[in-house]
C-alpha cells in the first residue's frame, strides 16, 4: 500500500492536515477526529504517516528520515574506525590508539542508539558495505597514518555539519532534537582532537597551522577531494550580522571559526556515497 496515497486521501478530507500536526499531542487529538472519515484498513498507515509528519513539523523531511540518514553516517564512521583500530601497524602510539578507540566506541554507541530509536519507529536500515579507498582514489587510507587521520578529520567535520543541517527538521520533536544535539557536540569534540593529532604530526605532512577549529574553508588536507566537506565554512556573516567587524574587529578568520556551517543532505550524500560500495 502506498503511504503517499493514504496521505493524499487524508488531505482531500482535511486540507489543513499538515498545519494541524504541530505536536505529537495534537497529532493524537486530530487523528481521533479524522479517523472516523477514512477507511479502517488505512488507519495504521495514516497513523504512521501522521506521526512522521508530526515529528518533523517544519515539513520536508521526517524525523525517521533524518535518523536513517544519521545512522548511515554513523555506520560509515564506525566501520572506518573499526578497520583503523584493527589494522596492525597503522596507529603508532598508545595514546593515539586510545583516542581512536574512544572515538570508535562513541560511533558504535551512536549506531546502537540510532538503531534502537529507529527500531521503535518502524525499523532501522542495515549497514551499507564500505570501500574507504573510494574506488581506489585513496589507496593508502589504512597504510598512511597521516592520511588516515585526514580522512578521520573529514568524516568528523562532515558529521558535525550533517547533524547541524538537520536541526531544523527536528524542531518540535524535543527528545530527538536534544539527542541529535548531544551526538553533534561529541562529533565536534572528536574533530577537534583529530585536528590536534594531525597538528602534532606536522613532519608527516599535515599542516602545522591546523587548529582545533575550522578556519575559513581550510581542511589542512592536501587532496582537493575533501573540499566539498569544507565548502561554505568560510562564512563570516550570520543572520545579516557581519561577525568579522564586531567587537573591535575580530577579523574574518576568527569570525569564520566562531560559527560552524551546516551541510544539507544533498551536499552530504555525495560525500558519503564515495565510500559506499553497496
Amino acid at each position: 500500500m502506498d503511504l503517499f496515497n493514504i496521505f493524499r486521501e487524508i488531505e482531500k478530507i482535511d486540507p489543513d492536515v499538515y498545519d494541524r500536526l504541530d505536536s505529537r499531542r495534537n497529532a493524537m487529538k486530530q487523528f481521533t477526529n479524522i479517523s472516523g472519515k477514512i477507511a479502517l484498513a488505512a488507519i495504521p498507515f495514516a497513523l504512521g504517516s501522521m506521526f512522521s509528519k508530526a515529528y518533523a513539523q517544519s515539513g520536508s523531511t521526517s524525523v525517521a528520515d533524518v535518523l536513517k540518514y544519521a545512522l548511515t553516517l554513523e555506520y560509515l564512521e564506525e566501520a572506518f574506525y573499526v578497520k583503523g583500530v584493527a589494522t596492525a601497524g597503522l596507529i603508532p602510539t598508545a595514546a593515539a590508539t586510545a583516542a581512536i578507540t574512544n572515538i570508535r566506541n562513541h560511533e558504535t554507541a551512536h549506531v546502537n542508539f540510532l538503531k534502537t530509536v529507529l527500531g521503535n519507529m518502524g525499523g532501522a536500515p542495515a549497514s551499507p558495505t564500505f570501500d574507504f579507498t573510494a574506488g581506489g582514489t585513496f589507496p593508502t587510507v589504512f597504510t598512511d597514518y597521516n592520511f588516515f587521520l585526514a580522512i578521520a578529520q573529514t568524516f568528523e567535520d562532515t558529521g558535525v555539519r550533517a547533524y547541524k543541517g538537520q536541526a531544523g527538521n527536528l524542531s518540535g520533536s524535543n527528545t530527538v532534537l536534544t539527542a541529535a544535539l548531544n551526538i553533534h557536540s561529541v562529533e565536534a569534540r572528536h574533530a577537534a582532537h583529530i585536528r590536534m593529532m594531525r597538528r602534532a604530526l606536522g613532519t608527516l605532512g599535515a599542516s602545522p597551522a591546523l587548529k582545533p577549529w575550522i578556519t575559513l574553508n581550510q581542511s589542512g588536507i592536501a587532496t582537493t577531494a575533501v573540499n566539498p566537506s569544507y565548502a561554505g565554512e568560510e562564512l563570516t556573516t550570520q543572520a545579516g550580522v557581519d561577525i568579522a567587524a564586531l567587537g573591535g574587529n575580530i577579523g574574518a578568520n576568527s569570525a569564520s571559526e566562531a560559527f560552524d556551517e551546516p551541510l544539507t543532505m544533498a551536499q552530504v550524500l555525495p560525500i558519503a556515497s564515495l565510500f559506499i560500495k553497496s
Binding site: D22, H110, G247
Partner: protein
C-alpha cells in the same frame, strides 16, 4: 477546528518599530502558551518584568528572546573570562596556548556581539562578572575554569535547543545555536586535552550512548551564578 497560527516574527519586525517589539513578543509568548497550554506554565508569561515569585534582577524576556538572552549571558561570561586570560596570561603559558586563547576569546566575543546585535533592544544589559575565585596567574586555575565554562556552554546549548520555537525566526535561531555549540565543543575538547591529554570526550561528559550532556537553564545558572554578580531574573526561562 483550526489551530491558532502564530504570526511570524519576521512579519512582526517589518511592521513594528523596535520599541513596540518587546510588548509584541510578550503577546507571542502568551499565544504560544495558549496553543500548548499543557506544556508551558502560563504564569511565566503574565509578567516578565520584575515581580515574579522571587523575581529580583534583570529580566531575560520571554519566548525565544529569553533563550537568546540566556545564551547572551553565557557568552558574556565566557568572553569576559578569556579577555582576562589573554590580558594577564598565566605563568609558563606557551605560544600556542596564548594564540589559541586569543582565538577562543575572539570566538566568544563574536558570539557575544552577535547575540547583542540580534537581540537589539531586547538584549539584556552587560553583566558584571565575579572572577574572584580564579587565580589568573596559575595555569591549573585558568584551565579548570575554562573547562568548566566550555563543558557548561556545550550542555547549555544542547539543552536549550528544544526551547526555541519552530517559527521561521525560531528555526534561524536554532540553526545559529547549532553553529555555535560545535565551536564550544571544539574549545572544550582542546582545553580538556591541555589538562589531561586524551580527555577530549571522556566518560564524565560523554555517556554510554555516546551522547554529550544537556543541562536545563536552571541547572546552568545554578553553576554559572558563582561567576555572575548581576542578579538575573530566571523566572521567564523555559523549564
Amino acid at each position: 477546528m483550526h489551530i491558532i497560527k502564530k504570526p511570524s516574527r519576521e512579519e512582526a519586525r517589518e511592521v513594528m518599530p523596535d520599541i513596540q517589539r518587546r510588548n509584541f513578543l510578550k503577546q507571542l509568548g502568551m499565544g504560544a502558551a495558549f496553543v500548548t497550554a499543557a506544556t508551558i506554565a502560563t504564569g511565566c508569561h503574565k509578567d516578565d518584568d520584575d515581580n515574579n515569585m522571587n523575581g529580583a534582577g534583570i529580566s531575560l524576556g520571554s519566548g525565544d528572546v529569553a533563550v537568546l538572552n540566556y545564551a547572551y549571558a553565557l557568552e558574556q561570561l565566557e568572553a569576559a573570562f578569556y579577555t582576562q586570560v589573554v590580558l594577564t596570561p598565566y605563568t609558563g603559558i606557551t605560544d600556542m596556548e596564548l594564540d589559541f586563547f586569543k582565538d577562543i576569546r575572539n570566538h566568544e566575543i563574536g558570539h557575544r556581539e552577535f547575540f547583542k546585535a540580534a537581540l537589539s533592544t531586547n538584549a539584556i544589559a552587560g553583566l558584571e562578572v565575579d572572577f574572584s575565585s580564579i587565580d589568573f596567574t596559575k595555569r591549573a586555575s585558568v584551565l579548570a575554569t575554562a573547562k568548566a565554562f566550555e563543558d557548561l556552554g556545550v550542555s547549555a546549548y544542547n539543552g536549550a535547543g528544544q526551547y526555541i520555537s519552530s517559527s521561521a525566526t525560531g528555526l534561524v535561531y536554532l540553526g545559529l545555536a547549532g553553529k555555535i555549540v560545535s565551536v564550544e565543543a571544539c574549545h572544550a575538547a582542546y582545553i580538556r586535552d591541555l589538562i589531561e591529554p586524551g580527555s577530549f570526550a571522556a566518560a564524565d561528559v560523554v555517556d554510554a550512548n555516546g551522547l554529550d550532556k544537556s543541562r536545563t537553564p536552571a541547572d546552568v545558572f545554578n553553576i554559572a551564578k558563582a561567576y555572575i554578580k548581576t542578579k538575573i531574573n530566571t523566572n521567564t526561562l523555559p523549564k
